[in-house]
Amino acid sequence: MRSASRTARKRLVAAVGAALVAAPLLTACGSDSGITINVYYAPEQVFDKVVAKCNERANGRYTIVYNKLPREADGQREQMVRRLAANDSEMDILGLDVVWVAEFAEAGWILEWTGQNKAEAERDVFPGPLSTAQWNGKLYAATKNTNVQLLWYDKRVTPTPPRTFDEMITTSERLRDEGKPYQILLTAAEYEGLVVNYNTIVNSAGGNILSEDGKSVVMDQGAVKGLEILKRLSTAGVTAPDLTAAKEQQVQLGFQQPGGKAAFQINWPFVYASIQTANPELFQNLGWAQYPGVNPGEPSKPTIGGYNLAVSSYSRHPQEAFEATLCLREAESQKYQAVLESLPPTIQSVYDDPTPVDPSKPADPKNNPTMDQAYPMKDAIVPSLEDSAARPLTPAYQNASTVISTILSPPTAIDPPVTADRLRRELQDALQSKGVLP
C-alpha cells in the first residue's frame, strides 16, 4: 500500500514536472549568456522543477542554479549569515525563513524591492504573509510560500474538534478516562517550534510579547495567560511522554503511527501527505481545523511560517535575480508546490484556481489534480491566514527566540508570574543584543 501510493505520487511528480518544463521548451532557443543566478534555499522535493521551468523561461539569458541549504533552519541561517558577513558575491537569491527578513535587511545584506518588481511581488498576497517580507515600511523580499499550523484530529474519536485550549484539554482528559486515544501532540522541545506555539497562544489571548515595532518588551496579561495555558497543558497528563523533545517530525510520527495514543496533533500542513501513506485508515477519518483559540467564541491568531525570497546585496546580477525570484514565486509555481508538496501559497487567487496543475490536460485527481482535489485543507488554511499574526518583527529575532525557548523549557516548570518576570528582564537585553545568549 505504502509503496504503491508512493510510486503513484512519484509518477505524478514526473508527469506534471515534464509538462511544466516541456511547454516552454518548444520556444526556447536563445543563446547562453553565461550568467549564473545562485539560489540558496531549503531542500524541497519539487523546487528543482520550478527552477527548471524558470530557466526555460529565461531563455538562456541566465541560468538559475538551486543550491540546497541544510534541512534545519538554524543551519540554513548560519550558512547564509556567515557568507554574507564575508561579502560573498556568489549568492544571488536567498531563501529566508519569515523571521529573518528584518535581521538581514537591518544588516544591509538584502536589497529593497522597488518599482515594477515591488508591485509584482505584492500583488494579491495575503496581508499577514506580506508583512513578514517588510521591514521599516519597505519591501525586502517576495513571499514564496506561507505556512500555518492546524489542529489535526481523528473524526472517529472526536467528531467535532475542540475550539479552545481549555476545551481540548478537558476533552483529552475525558478520552483518557474512557481509555480512548487522548494525547495532544505539539512541538514543545527547546527550539523555535515552542516559540511558535507560545506566540500563537499569546496572540489568541489578545496579548503581546513584544511591541509592534519590536523595540521593547510588552509581556502583558495575555502573555501571562499564555504561560498558564502551556503550564496546564504540559502538567495535565494529556501530552506524550516525549513532549520536551517533540519537534515537527516526532509530532507527525506520533500522530500517524497506527495504534497510537494521540487524539490531536498541532502541526503544519505537510503532515497531510504522509498520513495518507502511513495510516490510510486514519486518513479516511482525518479532520482538520483552525488552531485552537484561548477565549471562547474568538478564533485563534495562528503564527505565520513559511519562506520569503530575497536578493543579496552582494549579488553581481541583481536585475536578473529579481526577475528570477518573481518567476520562482509566481502563482503557477506556488500552485505546483502546493499540490505536490502541500506548501501553502501566499497568493490569494491560487486557492480558488479551478484549473489543474497542467492546464493543457484535463483534471484528474490522481495525475493532474486541481487545488480543490489535492489541497482540501485549504478551507482551514485560508481563514487561518486571514486571522493570522506574524511573529514579532525585529532584527534581533534570533536572540529573542533563543531566550524565549530557553526560559519556557521545560513547559512543566513554568511558574507564570515568575517566568513572565524573567522573560521581561532577559528579552529586553536580547532585543538590544546585550547580555549572553544561553
Binding site: 556567515r82 527547546e190 511522554p241 520536551t244 523533545a245 533563543t402 543584543s433 549572553v436 545568549l437 544561553p438
Partner: protein, 310 residues
C-alpha cells in the same frame, strides 16, 4: 635508585652561572636565530594575530546586525559574561563533564594499556583495533550514538528499555560522558602504553623478588616511573575535554558547554563582542589548566622529587 635521584642535583647547580660563549659559538647562535626567524614570524602571524584580534574584538560592542552601533566598551563584555548565570552554568557543566570523563578514561585507559602491553599474539592488530573509535570522526560517532539512543528506533534504548536516555537530564549527561569515554579512551591508552614501555623489566622482577605483590608493583613501581606519561596524557585529555563541542551539539542540542555557548553567541547570535569575550575566557582557562599541570608535572618529574622517595 638513589643514584638516579642524586644525579640531577649537581647538573641543576651547574646551570646557574652562565658559561662564557666563544666568538664562534655566538655567531652560530645568531645564525640560528636568523634561520628561525621566518618560521617564527609566520607562527606569530597565523596564531598570534587571531588571538590579538579576538582580544581586541572582545573589548567592543560589535554585533553584525547592528553595524552602526559598534563602539569600544573596554571591559564591559567581560563584566556581562562573568556576571551571567548562563555562562557559569555552562562553565560548571563543562568542568563536570571534563572531570568525570577524564577520570573514567584514565582508569579504563590504564587497563587497556596494561592489556595491550602484555599482549603477545597479534600485538599490532590489537592496538589498531582499539584505536578505531579514536579514528572515527566525532560528529559521525555522535550521530550513531544519537540514533542508537533514539526512543522510537534506537537499538540501545530498546535494549535497556529506557525511553528517555537523551531527554532526562541526568541520563543525557551520562550518555554524553559515555560517548566521550568511548571515543578517547584509546588515545589515553596509547599515551599510557608509551609510559609503560619506560618501566624496566628488571625493576619489576627485583620488586617481585623482594616480595611485592602485583598491586604493590603497580602502585609502587609502575605508576611512579610512568608518572610523566600519565600527566601528559591527563593534560592532553583535560584540555581537549574542556573544549567539548561535537558530542553535545549532536546528542543534546540546547545543552551548553562553554564552546557551544561561544558558538551560539558568535555564529548564531552574530555578536562578535560577547562571542570573542567568551573565546578569550576559554583561552585563559585552558592556559590556567596547562599552567597548573606543568607546575605539577615539573615537580613530579623523575629526579626532581628525590626528597620524597628516599
Amino acid at each position: 635508585m638513589t643514584e638516579t635521584a642524586v644525579k640531577p642535583a649537581p647538573a641543576k647547580a651547574a646551570k646557574k652561572p652562565k658559561p662564557e660563549l666563544s666568538e664562534g659559538k655566538r655567531a652560530e647562535r645568531r645564525l640560528g636565530w636568523l634561520l628561525c626567524a621566518p618560521a617564527a614570524l609566520v607562527m606569530v602571524a597565523v596564531t598570534g594575530w587571531p588571538i590579538i584580534y579576538s582580544v581586541w574584538l572582545s573589548m567592543q560592542r560589535y554585533d553584525l546586525r547592528f553595524p552602526n552601533q559598534s563602539e569600544f566598551v573596554f571591559l564591559d563584555n567581560y563584566i556581562t559574561v562573568l556576571g551571567s548565570e548562563y555562562w557559569w552554568t555552562a562553565f560548571g557543566l563543562t568542568t563536570l563533564i571534563t572531570v568525570v570523563s577524564v577520570i573514567i578514561e584514565l582508569v579504563l585507559g590504564m587497563c587497556l594499556a596494561l592489556i595491550m602491553h602484555r599482549t603477545i599474539v597479534g600485538r599490532g592488530l590489537v592496538r589498531t583495533v582499539s584505536l578505531i573509535p579514536y579514528g572515527i570522526v566525532t560528529v559521525v560517532a555522535a550521530f550513531s550514538w544519537r540514533y542508537a539512543w533514539d526512543d522510537k528506533t534506537g537499538y540501545l534504548s530498546a535494549l535497556l528499555s529506557s525511553e528517555s536516555a537523551l531527554i532526562d537530564q541526568t541520563s543525557a549527561f551520562f550518555t554524553v560522558v559515555l560517548a566521550e569515554v568511548w571515543k578517547t579512551t584509546p588515545f589515553m591508552a596509547l599515551l599510557l602504553m608509551a609510559g609503560l614501555a619506560l618501566v624496566p623489566d628488571d625493576l619489576l622482577r627485583a620488586a617481585a623478588m623482594d616480595g611485592a605483590g602485583p598491586w604493590q608493583r603497580f602502585t609502587k613501581v609502575i605508576v611512579p616511573v610512568m608518572k610523566p606519561a600519565i600527566l601528559v596524557a591527563l593534560l592532553f585529555r583535560t584540555l581537549d575535554a574542556f573544549r567539548i563541542f561535537d558530542n553535545l551539539f549532536v546528542l543534546t542540542p540546547g545543552t551548553s558547554s562553554v564552546s557551544i555557548q561561544t558558538y551560539n553567541n558568535l555564529i548564531k547570535g552574530l555578536n562578535l563582542g560577547i562571542g570573542s569575550t567568551m573565546s578569550v575566557l576559554i583561552f585563559i582557562t585552558v592556559a590556567i589548566i596547562a599552567f597548573l599541570f606543568i607546575k605539577v608535572f615539573g615537580t613530579a618529574a623523575p629526579g626532581s622529587d628525590s626528597g620524597g622517595k628516599r
